[in-house]
């Protein structure tokens, strides 16, 4: 799919196409949906099979499931505060939906649904509206007071209020584009260097030797992407927690 006619098709990997035959076409199923489903099943398997022994002294698998639980639980309760427990399942779902999506996407030949702006924007808008609704319910009209920073002179209001509103509205934009751009960039780089390997590999005798260089780069990229995948999921989750804390704070 790459390097055909010495052209690198770095974006083809993000293309959606129908799956599962006529039924899939009718239901508008794409490989993206399949990978979301796969990720969800993996998350549930991880928890159910991990916690199956219900051991007091956990084995490795159970310890991993417990660490995952406690990591998000601590994040939610530390960041959100007294309401953290209420939003913990949501933050957990969000974090692992993104994390597993990022990681499953790293398997060569697979698809990364977090590299689609429509998906990340939907997630970001969900967080944005959830925080907005929670803020309106718990703070009422007082919520709009936050657009005027406390202690600032009233004369500055015409300048400050639009800035604050813009900042608030830009949250879903930054949230969605951060994840989307990171994933796209990583996978484009993979594709580029993989294509280099194939192109260099075709160069007469010296080709196979030269082709090793981009391969090594790709290996380093894989390490980087493992970091980025976790980091982006973490950033998304922690920003969600921060927005929810602001929404629940009185």
């Amino acid at each position: 799919m790459a390097a055909a006619d010495n052209k690198i098709d770095a974006l083809g990997q993000f293309e959606l196409h129908p799956v599962l035959g006529p039924l899939g076409a009718q239901l508008h199923l794409s490989q993206s949906v399949l990978y979301m489903l796969l990720s969800s099943v993996l998350i549930l398997l991880f928890l159910y099979l991990g916690m199956r022994p219900r051991a007091v002294v956990p084995g490795r698998f159970q310890a991993a499931a417990e660490i995952a639980y406690e990591f998000i639980y601590d994040m939610a309760s530390d960041q959100i505060g007294h309401d953290g427990k209420r939003f913990f399942p949501f933050v957990f779902t969000l974090f692992f939906f993104i994390l597993v999506g990022n990681y499953v996407g790293l398997i060569p030949g697979s698809f990364t649904y977090t590299s689609h702006i429509a998906v990340t924007a939907a997630l970001a808008l969900m967080v944005f509206f959830l925080a907005l609704i929670v803020a309106l319910v718990s703070q009422g009209m007082k919520f709009f007071g936050h657009f005027m920073p406390e202690g600032a002179p009233i004369a500055m209001a015409p300048l400050l209020v639009p800035i604050e509103i813009l900042t608030f509205l830009s949250r879903p934009v930054s949230l969605s584009i951060r994840l989307f751009a990171n994933m796209v960039a990583g996978h484009v780089m993979f594709e580029m260097f993989a294509a280099f390997t194939i192109m260099l590999g075709g160069l007469h005798l010296i080709g196979p030797v030269l082709g090793v260089a981009p391969l090594i780069v790709n290996m380093a990229l894989m390490a980087l992407e493992l970091l980025v995948g976790a980091l982006q999921a973490y950033v998304f989750a922690i920003l969600t927690c921060i927005y929810l804390r602001e929404a629940t704070a009185h």
Binding site: K7, S30, G109, H116
Partner: protein, 200 residues
């Protein structure tokens, strides 16, 4: 555990089926014009969001209703067990401390009693010895007194005998020297006078 095996097998089957479907979905057609992510003419772009929302909601429901509470119950059970064990250990320690205190107190009490007994026994022995000494002294004094009395008696008797002997001797001497019998009463009065002079 047949349940665990069954669940594991079912889970593995589901995962394998999904993987197979993902692989069968095949590679993307080459050369998209522009970013495929921004191709909103493709209905799949929006439909993946719809399906994603459904999947996310289902995942959220299963996690929040079943999977996460299960983890929480295991963690709670462990916390409860650890706290229970700690509580038991604390109780045991309190009991041990109390037992050690009791032991120490009992030992101190026993030592004090033993000392008291020893003191009493020593006191008794001392008193008994004193009584015995006193009794012995009394007996010895009585014996001494008796002996002295006997001595005085013997001495008196001896003195009595001496007077008789002296009178007899004097009478005999007078008879031998004078050749005539001497009056007994006269001799005795002279002897008495001589004895009194000697004693004085």
């Amino acid at each position: 555990m047949p349940g665990a095996t069954g669940l594991r097998r079912l889970g593995a089957q589901v995962a394998v089926c999904l993987l197979a479907a993902c692989v069968l979905a095949g590679p993307s057609p080459a050369f998209a014009a522009g970013m495929p992510q921004l191709d909103f003419h493709n209905p799949l772009t929006i439909w993946q969001v719809v399906w994603g929302a459904v999947i996310f909601l289902l995942l959220y429901l299963v996690l929040s209703r079943s999977a996460l509470p299960q983890v929480a119950s295991v963690l709670d059970a462990r916390r409860g067990r650890i706290e229970g064990d700690l509580e038991a250990a604390r109780t045991a320690k309190t009991g041990t401390d109390r037992a050690i205190d009791d032991l120490r107190r009992a030992r101190r009490k026993a030592a004090a009693e033993a000392q008291a007994n020893l003191d009493r026994v020593l006191q008794d022995a001392r008193e008994e010895a004193a009584v015995r000494t006193r009794e012995m002294n009394a007996r010895l004094e009585a014996e001494i007194a008796a002996a002295e009395a006997q001595l005085a008696q013997e001495r008196t008797r001896a003195m009595g005998a001496l007077r008789t002997v002296a009178a007899d001797t004097a009478q005999l001497l007078v008879e031998r020297v004078t050749g005539q019998p001497a009056g007994r009463s006269l001799v005795e009065s002279h002897v008495d006078g001589a004895l009194a002079a000697r004693t004085a």
